[in-house]
Symmetry: C2
Subunit: 307 residues, 2 copies
Amino acid sequence: MDAYLKNIKEWALVTQAARRFKTADRSVVVGPGDDAAVIRGPKGFYGLLTADMLVEFVHFKKGEDLKKVGYKAVAVSVSDIAAMGGQPRFALVSVGLPRKDPARRAQALFAGLGQCARRYGVSIIGGDMNRSDRLVIDVFMMGEVEKKNLVLRSGAKDGDVILVSGPLGGSQASGRHLAFVPRVEEARFLVKHSKVHAMMDLSDGLSMDLSRLCEASRLGAVISEEDIPRNPGVKTIAAALGDGEDYELLFTLAPKEARRLAISCGRPSSPFRFYPVGRMTDTFRGVRIRGRDGFLKKLPPPKFKHF
Amino acid sequence: MDAYLKNIKEWALVTQAARRFKTADRSVVVGPGDDAAVIRGPKGFYGLLTADMLVEFVHFKKGEDLKKVGYKAVAVSVSDIAAMGGQPRFALVSVGLPRKDPARRAQALFAGLGQCARRYGVSIIGGDMNRSDRLVIDVFMMGEVEKKNLVLRSGAKDGDVILVSGPLGGSQASGRHLAFVPRVEEARFLVKHSKVHAMMDLSDGLSMDLSRLCEASRLGAVISEEDIPRNPGVKTIAAALGDGEDYELLFTLAPKEARRLAISCGRPSSPFRFYPVGRMTDTFRGVRIRGRDGFLKKLPPPKFKHF
């Protein structure tokens, strides 16, 4: 993913939008800036709304298998809903299709969209189809979450253990960026069985995304190099922290809850495994990493690609 | 609007999607094919969901004032919600921005988005911002409607009077296609004070859109050339029927209801005016027009632009 753009996204939709698009509507529980917006829902529930756009040449190659692109387009939004603790329900899909072979392209794309939607119980109930020079797919997803199970980025507490739901890095090299498994089951398990303080999904790499969680929670974090789980073939810690597109969950728990989770997931029967990678702290802001030499270093600022 | 594309949209999202994306979810009241999808909502209400994408060079010129484009991007979706009888509430806006001057472009665009959103009581609560060769804006809108006030395209009855909410044609020539007034007030007035059988908004011209209403309602229609209200400067009936982008309401009422509406809107104090243009019939399918010569003609099939 394009870190600078993600930054523009944050900057634009969190600051500009927060200013321009400020709302007095009391039905809006959480506006722009988290993985999904939160609105009041039917009794006991919140509604969750998220949108994710994929653009040819920016998010996927020209020759890419459009079935995979379709799968990913839905999976990215499913991951956003999961990161709020919720269950995805409905999607609308807007597509801009190049003039050439629209039907053949649409077929492959729709096959992928449908495959991912079925797998996660999402009903595709509408959308818009247009002509466009470059293929562009925008998925809007609506989900729901029991009020008590809603988790934001901003709820982390001093001393919390920081965990991730799987090994990191190498997503693009391995093709996993198009075929990842959004962590709905893991997130639902967590919100039902643990007291999760803060959660988000890892789209831009642990380094960037943990900085965001810290900022939202007004805290700092220390992670430990030797605790960062890496995918096979990921040779450097920089790759594990910066490659992005992991779509694993990043979340924080009070130490006692983290121990309880370690015990319950340590059983051979547990389908899930979670990896503690560090601690939240109120003694500084930002993210620091303890190297294998035992010294604490600031994380280098993530490399922004140019717009 | 690009009629052939609209046709692909219908074809793709109504047939392909209806096949591929069929849902067993009983929360989905109406899937693809109407102006908005309908889902079960809080007590007494339905939720309405719609998506509309605007692409540079396809829906607006390269040099176009982006404030106007932003206004339109929201207004199109507002019009869709209105056409279901509903009230727009929340929007997410996904934007693909060209590399050059993203901040300046975003500012103008956001000003327009915000202007239209405020005017119609819509809270913009999220979205996605990306890099893209061509400017592309996709607006997702969520609205709500009291269950008793929901109106679909499919509810027209034999003998119904067909009405429109304003004069037609010349939208692009006059610039109104970027600055139209979505007919929320009119639609809300209608569903509250009349028994509206069927309704939709006129995006592709009366000729194309009435055909769709007929198809959805499994009926035919006769319109009368001399009754079609035309905008100033619209010289031919073909232009009034085919120009598109009117964003007026097209709806049907039982004759008795139509008379009642004519009386209530005939008063000088009435803020609204509605124009009867024809009748629904079960003696044939499709749309026929009675010319000034008194003869009934089939409407020529609308010209499809090539994809």
